[in-house]
């Protein structure tokens, strides 16, 4: 009697332990996924000739785009498993340098130190180019106002706290027809470190240097003001209050009722758009002095061409030219070819509201990808 009840308790217990052990085994095999990348190289897979598992990770801004890329790439190459951990750009780059990731996504370009380290890790110049362009919206929630024109100086003053109410003369001057209330302005910024903040502060610093004196940074430069975690957090905070304003990735604003400010470029006011962001990247200069396989942009936020939208982020993909085994190289090459292709960019645009790469940028990237694995 006693023992039978006990047995009834023990059997599921043992089963649970066995399950835990097998789960732990799964977990550890996940870690070594990169080393096992070439395990399946001999067996040709059903769709496409490639196979194996390739691990990557980094920028969380790329997460949605990476999802659609993995789905699209997986359809054509059913034998390949690509993984992407959105652990943050900094961790993505350091894991790439340590070799844990075979490719990495990063919201900011590698520093020259990191390029040196990556060169050592890759045994040759690393590959780096932008793959994900996303406009950043200045979104607001103000009763009775649905459209708003702002220029760089005003945006900087609002986020710095110099302009405190919506009926401030500086805002009135830009919006002569709007009925602006005397509601207090509550600017909302990201509480977590993010590429969105980095690019937004870069815009403020480049376009309104007299107001925004601090350099660009992925962490908000002050500890004061309303803050919220992640894109969804900022969307929630801006929606939750009256008189709020925030900077949000275009994909986050989609489907909300928030107003989106038009930004002054040259003499006209430009609404955020994928095309405008792509034109903005096309109008930017490549950083010189990097290896030929590294395409880093110094983004020009002060263009006066009204076809460009200056507040956007360009997120990079980082990889090696050659890997220890040819199979990993072939998989990475095929994957990068796919994500920079028109199809891949379209998939990301549909899923993450990103901007397709400008054609001349895409063709330069294709030339770099051609060098991988050769």
């Amino acid at each position: 009697m006693n023992t039978s009840t006990l047995r009834r308790a023990i059997v599921p217990g043992v089963a649970a332990l066995a399950l835990a052990a097998s789960l732990a085994a799964c977990g550890s095999s996940d870690d070594s996924a990169d080393s096992a990348a070439s395990d399946g190289s001999s067996g040709a897979a059903a769709g496409g000739s490639l196979s194996g598992t390739v691990a990557g990770g980094g920028s969380s801004a790329q997460e949605k785009a990476q999802e659609s890329w993995r789905a699209g790439f997986g359809q054509a190459n059913s034998g390949v498993t690509m993984t992407y951990d959105s652990v943050g750009s900094g961790t993505g780059r350091s894991n790439f340098i340590s070799g844990a990731y075979k490719y990495a996504g990063s919201d900011s370009a590698m520093t020259s130190d990191e390029i040196t380290q990556a060169t050592k890790a890759c045994g040759g110049d690393p590959v780096e180019f932008p793959v994900f362009i996303s406009p950043i919206d200045v979104a607001f929630n103000l009763k009775g106002v649905s459209s708003l024109n702002l220029d760089a100086k005003t945006v900087a003053q609002i986020f710095k706290g110099d302009i405190k109410t919506w009926d401030d003369p500086a805002i009135k001057a830009l919006n002569p027809d709007a009925k602006l209330p005397s509601t207090a302005i509550s600017p909302v910024h990201r509480s977590d470190s993010s590429g969105t903040t980095d690019n937004f502060t870069d815009y403020l610093h480049q376009a309104a240097p007299s107001v925004w004196t601090s350099d660009h940074s992925s962490d908000w430069p002050t500890t004061s003001g309303e803050s919220a975690e992640g894109t969804s957090g900022v969307v929630g905070a801006v929606q939750g209050g009256n008189g709020t304003i925030g900077y949000i990735d275009d994909s986050g604003v989609e489907g909300t009722k928030l107003g989106v400010a038009k930004i002054k470029v040259g003499d006209s006011f430009v609404a955020p758009s994928a095309d405008g962001a792509a034109a903005g990247l096309a109008a930017s200069q490549l950083v010189s002095g990097t290896p030929a396989t590294v395409m880093e942009y110094k983004i020009n936020r002060t263009s006066t061409d009204p076809s460009t939208y200056p507040v956007f982020m360009a997120s990079y993909e980082i990889a090696c030219q050659s890997y220890g085994d040819a199979n990993t190289g072939a998989v990475v090459k095929a994957f990068l070819t796919y994500i920079t292709s028109a199809d891949g960019q379209k998939a990301a645009a549909a899923n993450a509201y990103s901007a397709p790469l400008p054609t001349d940028v895409a063709s330069k990237e294709a030339a770099i990808i051609a060098k991988i694995g050769s």
Binding site: L6, G88, S191, S193, S218
Partner: protein, 320 residues
């Protein structure tokens, strides 16, 4: 807690003597109890070692890692510890009287027909995941409480806690404390209820027979009997408040700073929510710092629990 109970049960096993030893069930039970006790100790030790080893570099990280919040680790951790304590204390101020009242209502005041479903509902509150509380707090409670906070700011602005520019979104320390309080209430209520019900019937009836009112009976018979259980319940609640991560991270508009104003947009961050918000940071040097702040929280929680046990032990000695 489990550390102190383990040797006791082992001793009891020895005292129980020969007849129990032979049976398979007894041996299995004693072995599994011992294993559970040892595993808890080893886990605690392993967590401490992990935090210490991984966080050691964080104590003297580069100044630029802490900016603009602070200049060095201790200032940074101190500000976060302040926020953690403030949120927990405010939550306890709201939750503890509420939980004790609720527990008394269930154990001594409500008719049985009402007490059972109420107790059941409160237990259900404990099953709601903290991320749901966070979503509800950030999306609904914050905007719903915004007019109330505006009123508090306008009429009671002279009171230091309520001074300053009231937040437009309502995502303030006050709302975070309310959300935390709602999360604490079920744990504290459940434990208080149990210990209140353990009061010997004889004591209660004696008090009533001597002419005490129901409240006097509770004060003289129930509370003294339940004191250590109440402290245990409050401590469990405090533990949850100190360590709560997602709900605070989602509700609170926060950064490491020191302020007592609970209605503004500038709120002190808590250690746990700060770890959640910044662990995936662009600058990954912050990770060792965050682990080191985790160590600070670990030690702090340990000390608070230790102090509470000490107070209870002293109070009980006085009572005896």
């Amino acid at each position: 807690m489990s550390i102190t109970t383990k040797p006791e049960s082992a001793e009891r096993q020895d005292v129980a003597g020969p007849p129990a030893v032979g049976r398979l069930g007894d041996r299995l039970f004693s072995a599994s109890a011992l294993t559970a006790g040892v595993i808890i100790m080893v886990t605690l030790g392993a967590v401490f070692v992990f935090l210490a080893v991984e966080g050691i570099d964080g104590f003297h990280a580069d100044r630029s890692v802490f900016e603009p919040a602070a200049g060095n680790f201790w200032a940074y951790a101190g500000k976060l510890l302040f926020g953690t304590t403030l949120a927990a204390v405010l939550a306890m101020i709201i939750a503890v009287p509420f939980a004790i009242g609720l527990a008394l209502f269930i154990s001594h005041y409500a008719p049985r027909r009402l007490a059972v479903p109420v107790a059941y509902l409160i237990d259900l509150l404990a099953a709601v995941p903290s991320v749901v509380y966070g979503l509800w707090g950030a999306r609904t409670l914050a905007s719903a409480a915004q007019p109330i906070q505006t009123w508090l700011g306008e009429h009671l602005g002279w009171f230091p806690l309520f001074s300053g520019q009231v937040s437009a979104t309502g995502r303030t320390m006050l709302v975070a404390a309310v959300v935390l309080a709602i999360m604490i209430v079920p744990i504290t209520t459940a434990i208080c209820r149990e210990v209140f019900q353990q009061t010997p019937r004889l004591l209660e009836e004696a008090a009533l027979g001597l002419g005490a009112t129901r409240w006097e009976m509770i004060r003289m018979a129930v509370f003294p009997h339940a004191r250590s259980g109440m402290v245990a319940g409050v401590m469990l609640g405090l533990g949850r408040a100190l360590g709560e991560t997602m709900a605070v991270a989602m509700v609170l508009s926060a950064s490491p700073l020191v302020t007592l104003k609970v209605l503004t947009s500038d709120n002190p961050a808590t250690i746990a929510s700060n770890i959640a918000a910044n662990y995936n940071s662009e600058d990954n040097r912050i990770q060792t710092v965050l682990i080191a702040t985790g160590l600070v929280l670990f030690v702090f929680t340990f000390l608070v629990n230790f102090a509470a046990r000490l107070i209870v032990a002293r109070a009980e000695r006085k009572l005896a």
